[in-house]
Symmetry: C2
Subunit: 470 residues, 2 copies
C-alpha cells in the first residue's frame, strides 16, 4: 500500500465539488464525510505528497506516477521513438548517385554539428532543418507540433547567403555537402528570410552582438533553408573521439546490455570535480533506495561548438577518463559518451534542449544545475540569466513529462571532512567555495587545490591543458 497525502484545503475541495457532495454532507444527507462530520487523519509518513491546492493536475498526476514508477509498480521505461534520418541500406547506392547530380549547398562546421544532431535523431520528431513554420513554433512556443507537442526550444536551422539562395531557388532537391563531400539530399527545400534580430532576441532574451553564439548567427547568411533530409553518411570527425559519439539507438542498446533499469543524465561542458561526482553518486544511491537495481549514469559531455574560454572537448574527455580511472565514479554503472550538439549559452531556453535531446536515449532522470547554460552578461557586470530560472522553466516546459528533473544540490569543499560535501547553510563556516575562476587560475599556475576537490589524475590533466596554452 502506498500512502499519498493530498495537501489541499477544504475550501478548494468544496470549490471543485461539481456534484455538490459537500453541500449534501453539510446538510447531513451524507454521513461520515471527511472534513465535515468525520475528522481528516493525515498519514504520518506519506510516500507521496500532492499539492493539489497549488500544483496543476498534470504536476499532481506526474508526482503520483513517479512514486509508482520509483517502486516499480508501473514500468518507468520510456519509449520515446527515435527518428534517424539515414537512408535505408538498400536505397543508399541510388541516393548517392542521385545526390551527385543535384545542386550543392556546402554546410559550415556549425551547421554540420546540427546536421549530426538531426541525422541521429536527437531532435526527434524533426525530419530535417526547420521549415519556417517549425522555426516560428520554436521561437514562440519553444516547441514543435507534429502529432503532439514536442519540446524544441532552440531552432535548428541551415543558413545560406542570398547568392546561394538565388542559385538554388526552384530546385526540387538539393545536396548538402561538408568539405566537399555529399552528405544528404534535402527534398523540396523552403527558403525563408533569416530574421536574425528577432531570432536572437526571442531565443536569448537579450539583444547584443557581443554574445559569442549570437555573434555567429550574425555572421551567418541572410536566408535559411528548411526541408526533410535523406542522410547518406553518418558524421565522423576523425579526431580520435568518434568512438564516444554514440547515437541514441546505440546508447539504448548499451543500457540494455548493462541491464540498466534506470538511466540518469548528467550534461556538462566543464571538467568534472568531486562536487559533481558527489551529486551523481548520491543520485544513484537514492535511485537504489527507491527500488532500482541497476541505475546507470549517462555522463554526457557536450561535443559541439563551445566558446573560446571553455576547456576544449579533447581535454575534457581526458579529464573524464581520469575521473573514471580513479573510480570516483563507478565505471561499471557509468556510460561516457559525447553529445554532438553545439552550445548556445541560452540559459532557461537552452536547458530545455539539453534535457529534451536526452529523452531519446530512454533516460528517465535528468540532473539540472544551478544557472544551467548560463554565462556572464556580455555587456553588464552580472550574469545573463537568473540562476533559478533554468530549473523552473525546465520543470514547467511542455513535452518533457517523461523526465523526472533532479535539481542540483550545491556542493562545496567541507574543510572539516577534507572532501566535497553538500552545502549546509547551518554550518557555513565549515565550507569553502571554489569558483571556476579560482580553479582555472590555480591550474594555470600549476598550483594545488584542497585535496578532495578533484581526483589527482584528473587535476593533472587540467594543469597540462592550461600549461599547453602558454
Amino acid at each position: 500500500m502506498i500512502e499519498c497525502y493530498i495537501n489541499t484545503s477544504l475550501e478548494i475541495c468544496e470549490d471543485r465539488d461539481t456534484k455538490g457532495l459537500y453541500k449534501k454532507a453539510r446538510a447531513g444527507s451524507i454521513k461520515g464525510f471527511t472534513g465535515i462530520d468525520s475528522p481528516y487523519q493525515p498519514p504520518l509518513n506519506p510516500e507521496c505528497i500532492v499539492e493539489s491546492g497549488t500544483d496543476s493536475i498534470a504536476t499532481c498526476v506526474a508526482k503520483v506516477v513517479k512514486v509508482l514508477e520509483g517502486k516499480n509498480i508501473i514500468p518507468a521505461v520510456i519509449s520515446v521513438p527515435v527518428i534517424e534520418l539515414f537512408v535505408k541500406p538498400d536505397e543508399k547506392a541510388a541516393k548517392i548517385a542521385e545526390a551527385a547530380g543535384l545542386p550543392k549547398l556546402e554546410m559550415s562546421k556549425l551547421s554540420m554539428q546540427w546536421f549530426q544532431i538531426l541525422s541521429e535523431g536527437w531532435a526527434t520528431p524533426l525530419k530535417g532543418f526547420m521549415r519556417e513554420d517549425e522555426f516560428l513554433q520554436s521561437l514562440h512556443f519553444n516547441c514543435v507540433f507534429d502529432h503532439g507537442t514536442h519540446n524544441q526550444s532552440i531552432p535548428i536551422t541551415l543558413d545560406l547567403t542570398t547568392e546561394q539562395k538565388d542559385k538554388l531557388s526552384g530546385s526540387k532537391a538539393i545536396c548538402l555537402t561538408y568539405l566537399g563531400k555529399d552528405y544528404a539530399i534535402m527534398r523540396n527545400p523552403e527558403f525563408y528570410i533569416h530574421r536574425k534580430e528577432e531570432r536572437c532576441a526571442r531565443t536569448w532574451g537579450v539583444y547584443t552582438k557581443n554574445h559569442p553564439h549570437i555573434q555567429m548567427i550574425y555572421e551567418q547568411g541572410d536566408w535559411l533553408a528548411g526541408g526533410e533530409l535523406e542522410v547518406l553518411h553518418r558524421v565522423e570527425w576523425g579526431d580520435g573521439l568518434d568512438k564516444y559519439r554514440k547515437t541514441p539507438l546505440e546508447l539504448r542498446a548499451k543500457f540494455e546490455e548493462m541491464g540498466a533499469d534506470a538511466v540518469f543524465v548528467f550534461q556538462l561542458r566543464n571538467p568534472v570535480h568531486n562536487g559533481h561526482a558527489l551529486l551523481m553518486t548520491d543520485t544513484a544511491k537514492k535511485l537504489k533506495e527507491r527500488g532500482y537495481k541497476k541505475p546507470v549514469l549517462l555522463l554526457h559531455p557536450l561535443g559541439g561548438w563551445t566558446k573560446a574560454d571553455d576547456v576544449p572537448l579533447e581535454w575534457r574527455m581526458k579529464q573524464h577518463d581520469a575521473v573514471l580511472d580513479e573510480k570516483v565514479l563507478d565505471p561499471e554503472a557509468t556510460v561516457v559518451a559525447i553529445w554532438p550538439s553545439p552550445m548556445s549559452y541560452a540559459g532557461p531556453t537552452e536547458v530545455q534542449w539539453h534535457a529534451k535531446a536526452r529523452l531519446v536515449t530512454g533516460a528517465q532522470f535528468y540532473i539540472v544545475g544551478r544557472d544551467p547554460a548560463g554565462m556572464g552578461h556580455p555587456d553588464k557586470k552580472e550574469d545573463l540569466y537568473d540562476h533559478s530560472h533554468g530549473r523552473r522553466v525546465l520543470s514547467m516546459a511542455p513535452g518533457m513529462n517523461q523526465f523526472e528533473i533532479i535539481p542540483f544540490k550545491v556542493a562545496a569543499y567541507n574543510k572539516t571532512k577534507g572532501a566535497m560535501d553538500f552545502y549546509d547553510p547551518a554550518n557555513h563556516d565549515n565550507f569553502e567555495f571554489i569558483s571556476g575562476t579560482r580553479m582555472r587560475k590555480t591550474a594555470r599556475e600549476g598550483g594545488a587545490l584542497p585535496e578532495g576537490f578533484m581526483a589527482p589524475k584528473a587535476w593533472k590533466v587540467l594543469q597540462a591543458y592550461y600549461a599547453s596554452l602558454q
Copy 2:
C-alpha cells in the same frame, strides 16, 4: 452525408501503415485495396479537404470538426469559462473594510487597464497579476498552465519600485488603489525582479528602447508584484464611453438576447473603412451559407493605451457610430463594444492575446489581419514583423483550438466599380491602394478620397479629428 477528401500520397499512407496492410495488399492477400488493385476515386465536390500529408493531426481534426459545426451537425457553441475576480456581493462590505486597513499600492493608469482586463475575466484563468512562474510561462511558452494549456502571450504584470517593494515585503495582503481609491485586495503577494531587458527581448523579439510600449516598460519600477485579486469595484473611466465597456459575461448575454448562433470578432485600433466593412459583411454572408441563421459581428475596438499617432478612442468610437448609422454594417447583427486592453504593438506575440481574450465572449470566429499588431521598426526603415507571421503564429498557437481563424483578404479601391473590393491580382490595374498615410494626410488637409472608400459621415468624423489637432 458529408464528403471529405483526405489529400495525401500513397507513400505517406504506406509510411504510416503500422499494420502492414499495404504490404499484404501488394502481396495480393487483401483484394480490392484502394490505391493498389482498386483505383482511388476522389470526390468531385468534397465539403472538406484534409491535407493529412502536410497538416498535423490536430489541424486535420479541427478541419473536420469545423465542417460539422458549420453544418450544425455538432454544436459550435463554446463554453470557455469566464473567471471574474469580483468579490461576492455578500462579502463586499467586509472586504472593503479589510482593504481600508491594509498597506496600499497605487497602480499606474497602464496597470489599471490591465487590472480591468483581469477583473472582468478576459485573461481567464489568471486570477490576478502574474506570479513569477506564470511570467516565465508566458515569456517562454506564450501560455500559462493551470489545469491545461491556456494561451497567454503577453505578460500581465504589476510593477513597483524597490522602495515600495521594501515597504510591502512581508505583508500577507495588500490593497491596490487607483487615484487613491481602494480597488482590490492582493493576497500573499510575491515580489520578483522585473527583468526588463529579458522581458522586452522575449515579448517583442527586438531590443530597443525606442519602441513606444517598451519605453513604458523601461519607465516602470524594477520589481513586479504577483498574486490573486479580490476586486472590490468594477473599473469605470467616466469618459462617457463606459456604456461600451461590456464585460465578457455581458457580451454573452447580449449575443443570447440577439439570438446569435455564431459570433465573429473584428479587433481593431483604427477607423473602419469600407474595405474592413466588406470583409465583415462577406464573413457574415459566408457563415450564412454554411447554415448559420444569425451570425453576429462583435466590432471590438481596443480601448486601452495606444501610441500617440493612433486615432484616440473617443474619435474612433464616433467614427464607428457613423459607420453603423450609415448602415455600412448591419446594426441588427452588430455589437460595438470596447475591449479594455492596452496595445503592445508586439505583432505575432500580441495577436495571440487579441484572439485569446475574445474566447471568453463565446465567439467562434476571429478575423486576423495582415501584419496584426504590427508597426514600423523603431530603428530601421522596415516593418517590425513579417506581415504573414501574425496569421501563421496565431493559426499554430496552443490554447486557441476553439477559434476558427479567418484570414484577412486584402481589399483595395476598385476604380471600375467605384467601391472597395477584394483585390484581384489578375486585374491589378483596376485597383488603387489607399495607404493609412495617404488617408491621414488627406483627412488632415480636409481633402476627399474616392467615393466608396469610407462612409461619408465617418469620413467627416476623421476630418474633424485631424482638424482638432491643428
